[in-house]
């Protein structure tokens, strides 16, 4: 069983829709949770970063973490065609004084927002 599970989609929505992307994880040691966005033929770029349970909002994007359920979500409001990309969740433990950025990624969800 993978440590991080993400529905690969693909997900196709009309412009203006609310999009919900989700990941579940099995390892309770994960403390830092991230969402990366990857456009076609590009490397991933950090979109959202959260620590601990709760919500974090940045413009049209909201990241939600529920540690008790081992579940994280990314919501996109008023989705735009420019949001079409692959979205990857990523998680990290914090190993005492060492923090080498060793992330565990989900499989990625391919999102298409059509006009």
């Amino acid at each position: 069983q993978k440590e991080v599970e993400q529905d690969p989609g693909p997900l196709s929505v009309p412009e203006g829709a609310i999009v919900s992307l989700n990941c579940t994880y099995s390892n309770s040691a994960f403390q830092y949770f991230m969402w990366y966005r990857q456009y076609s033929r590009k490397g991933p770029e950090l979109l959202m970063y959260t620590y601990s349970s709760g919500n974090k909002e940045d413009g049209r994007f909201t990241a939600q973490v529920d540690k008790s359920s081992k579940y994280i979500s990314l919501f996109i409001r008023d989705s735009q065609p420019s949001d079409s990309a692959t979205y990857l969740c990523a998680m990290k433990r914090y190993a005492g004084g060492t923090s080498y950025g060793k992330l565990t990624f989900g499989q990625g969800t391919i999102l298409t927002v059509h006009p």
Partner: protein, 113 residues
């Protein structure tokens, strides 16, 4: 802006060839990483380095080695390429710290025939 540059966008090699993938970052980052990305499997960590001449195995190091002789450069080496190493290879770098951000290159699509 941080820039992570991978030397080749596309690469085609023959089975058994020795392959070098090069990555350079321009922000004096301590940490550098090599991931491979495959459909349905996401990104998997091959090797990472937290300092010059230092390296650590990631989750799938078999068949790969790395070299970091200078802080800005991290090379991935396939000693004898095999068809199951056909993949997208992504290099990344970061400063370090608990809430660090990874900066990725655009990737090298390697095909081993």
């Amino acid at each position: 802006d941080v820039k992570v540059t991978q030397s080749s966008r596309y690469l085609v090699k023959r089975t058994g060839e020795k392959v070098f993938l090069e990555c350079v970052q321009d922000m004096d980052h301590e940490n550098m990483f090599w991931y491979r990305q495959d459909p349905g499997l996401g990104l998997r960590l091959i090797y990472f380095s937290y300092d010059v001449k230092m390296k650590e195995k990631g989750d799938i190091p078999e068949g790969y080695s790395v070299s970091r002789e200078k802080k800005e450069r991290f090379s991935l080496i396939l000693e004898s390429a095999s068809t199951n190493q056909t993949s997208m290879y992504l290099c990344a770098s970061s400063f370090g710290g608990a809430n660090e951000k990874l900066f990725f290159g655009s990737g090298t699509q390697l095909s081993v025939l």
